[in-house]
């Protein structure tokens, strides 16, 4: 399992933390401005029957702007600029190894429903990232999903998403 091997020696390369910090702060600032503008449009003032719909969000937007601007300023011009590496290549690879399949998995749920997608997802994850033999992986994946199926559909009667192509329709749930 390659995630167990620590990134071996060498200089860690990657984006410095303060850059990421600044980008997130800038996004927050942008979000704050959006909230302020749209609450202003809703009526941030005093209407005939009391505070308008945008009254509260307007001030919240201002707080987001202040905190975003403050963090942005600290990140770029602060005394202790954090120049440590935010993620190095190895770490980023590991994170994306989980994140990208997870996004594909959610996309698959949309089409094939939760049970089928989950089984395939768990099996592939085990085979490719865990280096398990396909037979073990498939047994584990099918087993886990059978338990989920029994628990949700049969015992607790909480139907889960079946997707636009329901491959399990023969089960009658």
């Amino acid at each position: 399992m390659d995630q167990n091997s620590e990134s071996s020696g060498g200089v860690r390369t990657g984006v410095a933390t303060y850059v990421v910090e600044a980008v997130v702060a800038a996004l927050l600032l942008l979000l704050g401005i959006t909230v302020v503008i749209s609450s202003w449009g809703l009526g941030a003032g005093w209407t005939s029957d009391g505070p308008g719909s945008g009254y509260f969000p307007f001030y919240i937007g201002i707080v987001i702007c202040i905190s975003g601007a403050g963090t942005l300023f600290q990140a770029l011009f602060g005394k202790e600029k954090n120049t440590e590496v935010f993620v190095d290549g190895e770490q980023l690879k590991r994170v994306l190894q989980v994140l990208i399949p997870a996004i594909i998995y959610v996309g698959a749920i949309q089409v094939f429903g939760i049970y089928v997608s989950s089984a395939v997802y768990i099996a592939l994850f085990m085979i490719y990232l865990g280096k398990f033999s396909p037979i073990k992986a498939i047994i584990a994946a099918v087993g886990v999903n059978t338990v989920f199926f029994l628990m949700f559909e049969v015992w607790f009667k909480v139907p889960l998403y079946k997707g636009s192509i329901d491959l399990l329709s023969f089960l009658g749930y």
């Binding site: 995630q3 989950s118 889960l160």
Partner: protein, 509 residues
């Protein structure tokens, strides 16, 4: 002694075989959640919440609160055996717990941890039993300005007592409020901040946020660190348990002190994590063996565990009595109350006696059952951590996806969960605290309502927040908390501050 009567009534309510079974199931699930990376108390309860929709509220809260106790217990197992804190509040437990395990005293450390958790929780529950009805009675006189000032105090406390940049705490909190205001405005019926997306009309459910931020975010972080679990094994046999129990009374001062610290930090939304660090620091300073702390002192396990459990339990007091939770997990439980059609707040003690006292009685029983369950099943849970992460990680992501879907049976929520997961990963890495975001998201509507009502009664005059001594004091305290980072800087100029030796170890949460 009305409380004692009510309490016994509560015991009568919960003493059914079904509730007892739910209690054990809850504890086992909770320990499992506490042990597994990526599943914590808050999102564990959030994921399992939809399963309880069909139960009676009393049974449901018994099971969910037992999951919470279980998660609190579970954190200690990973800290002691694997040096990996399963929860942020068990970081301080690793300082002495792991060295003890390395010396082959894992059983002693675990027994000490579990027992002191139980004691901390017990003291906090006794406090809740007698204090909560009083606080609720007092709060019955509250009007909208008073309630808003309490909300203000809650959120300003995060700024005053939190660790890290005050800007980031504010940002996280305001982001929560902004997300809470998306969707239909409850007063005017106008759509707000939906930007024309139909899916936004429902608003953002905090359960989705909790599952994404804490669940997916945590998995991404664990993945980045490349977790390899290599831990000590532990067996707890009755002999070690009794030997440890014989030693524990010697640390009674530490236990009492840690319980008080925990209760204080739990009621004010300081949370379990700072409480555990504070208790550890105090114990180190005041104990005779203080210099040996960090090398495997039983007292160094007792202090943080007692405080963390006392804080985790005490966080339920403001939730029950005022409807304002003191921690993210308490916030999730509060969300559950709303879903079951109960209105949290002072009226709960008048209108839902069975429920409230059933819950309080279940805290006593749940903790006792929890102690027995964890003492007997540690090897089982420790072996779960030996399952390779490449099986656990996808299964947890699947569980999170199912949990996110079942909240509103909406596919869009699963996408939202992934987005929140990425946000959670970034925020954790950049030291933005997540608790204020979750609490703001839960309380956003109610805080806004009380703000508007307060403003309506005063016709927009902000001075209503100082209109009587009570509301004035609370608002004043809130403002002190809000500007505490600045005030403490001024104080530091006059008098050099004490150095916080655990500043680097304490996580932001």
């Amino acid at each position: 002694m009305e409380e004692i009567n009510s309490l016994f009534h509560g015991f009568a309510v919960i003493m059914t075989p079904m509730n007892f079974l739910l209690m054990v199931i809850g504890i086992v699930l909770g320990v499992l959640i506490g042990v597994l990376p990526g599943l914590g108390g808050a999102n564990g309860v959030a994921i399992l919440l939809p399963l309880t929709f069909s139960m009676s509220p009393t049974s449901a809260i018994i099971m969910l609160s037992c999951i919470y106790w279980g998660a609190l217990f579970g954190g200690a197992i990973t800290s002691v055996l694997f040096n990996i804190p399963g929860e942020p509040w068990s970081v301080a437990t690793t300082f002495d717990g792991y060295p003890m395990a390395q010396q082959g005293r894992a059983g002693e450390a675990l027994t000490g941890a579990f027992t002191s958790s139980f004691i901390g929780a017990f003291v906090a529950v006794v406090m809740i039993t007698f204090m909560a009805p009083l606080v609720a009675k007092f709060a019955l006189r509250f009007g909208p300005p008073e309630f808003f000032s309490v909300y203000l105090l809650t959120f300003c406390s995060f700024v005053g007592m939190g660790k890290g940049s005050p800007f980031k705490i504010l940002a996280s909190m305001a982001l929560g409020f902004a997300l809470a205001s998306v969707g239909m405005d409850t007063v005017t019926g106008q759509l707000r901040l939906t930007f024309g997306f139909e899916e936004f009309m429902r608003g953002f459910d905090f359960l989705i946020a909790v599952i994404g931020l804490f669940g997916i975010g945590e998995i991404l972080l664990s993945m980045e660190e490349g977790l390899a679990f290599s831990g000590k094994s532990a067996k707890i046999d009755p002999k070690i348990v009794f030997q440890t129990w014989k030693k524990l009374p010697a640390y009674w001062i530490t236990s009492v002190r840690s319980s008080l610290v925990g209760i204080w930090m739990g009621v004010t939304p300081g949370g379990a994590t700072p409480a555990s660090f504070m208790a550890y620091g105090l114990a180190k300073k005041m104990s005779k063996n203080g210099s040996k702390f960090g090398t495997g002192e039983l007292e160094g396990v007792v202090a943080p565990e007692t405080a963390a459990h006392a804080a985790g339990t005490a966080a339920l007091l403001p939730m029950l009595a005022l409807g304002i939770p003191g921690s993210p997990t308490a916030a999730v439980l509060l969300g559950g109350l709303l879903i079951w059609g109960l209105q949290p707040g002072p009226l709960l003690f008048v209108e839902q006696k069975d429920f409230v006292w059933g819950l309080i009685a279940s805290m006593y029983l749940g903790n006792l059952v929890g102690l027995l369950v964890v003492l007997t099943t540690v090897p089982l849970f420790a072996s779960i951590l030996r399952i390779p992460f490449s099986i656990i990680a996808p299964v947890i992501i699947v569980i999170c996806a199912i949990g996110a879907y079942t909240v509103h049976t909406a596919m869009f929520d699963i996408w939202l969960m992934i987005v929140f997961g990425v946000v959670g990963y970034l925020f954790k890495k950049l030291d933005y605290p997540l608790a204020p975001l979750v609490l703001a998201l839960v309380l956003g509507d109610k805080a806004e309502d009380s703000f508007r009502q307060a403003m309506l009664t005063s016709q927009g005059e902000v001075s209503v927040m100082f209109s009587n001594p009570l509301v004035g004091t609370i608002t004043g305290l809130a403002l002190i908390m809000l500007f505490w980072p600045l005030i403490s800087r001024l104080i530091a100029k006059v008098r050099p501050p004490k150095v916080d030796e655990f500043a680097n170890d304490r996580p932001v949460d």
